[in-house]
Symmetry: C2
Subunit: 353 residues, 2 copies
């Protein structure tokens, strides 16, 4: 097998080898037409021998389908969401794509050169047949432009303002309520602080709402407070800096993600407060960090990889028919109990391997 350095092997070469027309070779390989079994055999042998691999460009041009799906990360979120999240998304999309012989393109949408965003170019040039868009801000006009153009797009996250789009996510409100209630009901916390994400992201809004639901339901609204963060470690640190914490202040902090919780943990350690003794802490996401810290952070496990895989599975039929009725999937989350809330440390469990 294998061809030398220079010429690519095309259908023509295989055809010449067998002594038939290129079209016949195409038919023999696709099996979509009436070709004798003997010829099919010969063609397959010749193709293998010459190392024939069809040109993806020619295929794409002819079929009007590239076999590529794009994973789009709006630049605004490049550092907002951590590396782990994105890797999980990539892993999920890749595994679904591989099963269907699709390639995965990563578009980090850098500059908005020439009026079109990088990912609008990717779509309109048909470099990709469809796209999975992660975590863009509320009201990002680019998403609507993509879907309005009839392109196959699936969003990861919640986009209540875009009812016509297909998306996959979790119920952030319920999850945030759940973790907040854990602090209240199981650990008896009475004065809670919530550190939000950037409030131009629906995720941050929803997690705040879940927090407020919980404190209201338990009559703790007056003793609680909310401060805006941006999902960064520093924001978590700064949010607690200078606050009354512990016995005569907040006895529990609900962070909208684990990065901020880790930042908060650092401030608490520096000020000499014990976690969970003086202040209980919970986070959100469970993308890796929360298991590593000391104490480990009690958090809500967000199944990012599964979300991404499902997003890819929802996307693929939409490539055939982008006008199909939109769907919405909510995945289950789970509470992961570690030490930062006051739950006992389970025996060390190695999760990685």
């Amino acid at each position: 097998m294998a061809q030398g350095v220079q010429g690519r092997v095309t259908l023509k070469d295989v055809a010449a080898r067998v002594g038939i027309s290129p079209a016949a070779v195409s038919m023999a390989l696709s099996g979509r037409s009436r070709i004798s079994a003997a010829t099919v055999e010969q063609v397959k042998a010749a193709a293998a021998e010459l190392g024939y691999v069809p040109s993806s460009a020619a295929k794409a041009l002819r079929n009007q389908r590239s076999g590529v799906i794009a994973v789009i990360v709006p630049n605004s979120t490049q550092h907002v969401f951590g590396h782990s999240y994105f890797m999980q998304v990539l892993t999920g999309v890749s595994s679904a794509a591989n099963e269907r012989d699709l390639q995965v393109l990563v578009s980090t949408s850098a500059s908005e050169a020439s009026g079109l965003t990088a990912y609008e170019r990717v779509m309109r040039s048909r470099t990709a047949d469809g796209a999975i868009v992660t975590s863009s801000a509320i009201g990002d006009p680019n998403i609507e432009r993509l879907t309005a153009g009839g392109l196959a797009v699936v969003l990861i996250g919640n986009y209540p303002e875009l009812p016509g789009t297909t998306s996959v996510g979790i119920d952030d409100v319920a999850a945030s309520r759940m973790v907040t209630e854990h602090l209240i009901e199981v650990h008896g916390k009475r004065s809670l602080l919530h550190v939000t994400g950037p409030l131009d992201h629906q995720t941050a809004v929803d997690r705040r709402e879940g927090f407020l639901d919980a404190v209201r339901a338990h009559g703790l609204l007056a003793a609680s407070d909310v401060v805006e963060g941006d999902f960064s470690e520093r924001a978590g640190y700064d949010a607690l800096d200078g606050r009354r914490l512990g016995a005569d202040g907040f006895d529990g902090v609900v962070f909208a993600n684990d990065d901020m919780a880790f930042g908060g943990l650092q401030l608490l350690r520096r000020t000499g407060l014990s976690v969970p003794g003086d202040v209980a802490v919970v986070g959100f996401d469970d993308f890796g960090l929360s298991r590593i810290t000391d104490p480990g952070i009690t958090t809500v496990h967000v199944p990012a990889e599964q979300m991404a895989r499902l997003a890819a599975e929802r996307l693929i039929p939409r490539i055939e028919d982008p006008t199909a009725a939109p769907t919405r999937d909510d995945l289950e989350v789970s509470l992961v109990l570690r030490e930062s809330c006051g739950c006992a440390r389970e025996d060390v469990v190695l999760l990685r391997n």
Copy 2:
């Protein structure tokens, strides 16, 4: 701008709008031919108005160049190297690619279906013009098949057995010697254990060699030992399990990466040994984890993102001429001092933001 749901806008449409031939439109947009300034203006206006974006498939077919570079992760390493490493690679490659209007394809090379690996298909089908291959095992035949086929490939890592290939990496031997000597010279450790990575990876072999160089140079070979790991957290844990550690055993452990060091830290904590008091620990990589743990792990910072960026920059000219003389780049590493070796904790520095 923008076109409706259905038809893509092609050169023909722009041509019809302006009243000239498609060829003239192509020339006007590329600026590579003699076209009057007035016509160029009209063409640009029409193209913008219609929302014309050239078909990447047609372009690729005609130019014999797809404008895509592939980042290849051999499946054997999917879980060996952590998520962070791969993300840094992706970020580095993407930023270099974006500057040149290239797209980035991620190939995780799942199954070896039909005799060709997934990434050999990607290359031979010209889905990608070139590839960046990360961390494959020693003697992986696929790499040689790719480069021998005259395809543009740049490797990240060290491949002494493949002298004809272009690669970007670090000097693992020197780096490992450096961190080992830190334990010996600065902290006075006298009995060292080294936990290697999988020895079918050159990185693991080189780091072991650097360790051995250092202990030999200081006459500590007899008091030292080497045990094979696989870069996983569990391997680090298991490597220390049941060993004589502390006063009457090893007083320092050099792990070939941070994940294993973290595993080791967990065993040490469980056995009640203090780090660095009883046993000093160092790791390797600094991909994120080592900053989070408690104590923080003293480690060698590997500039993964820079390596990847440079790899992309080396790759791009090779796409034009894959037979160009191969190059080798070694990037600088640095020692990152944290607490696990016995160095004082610097004031908390928030590195993320």
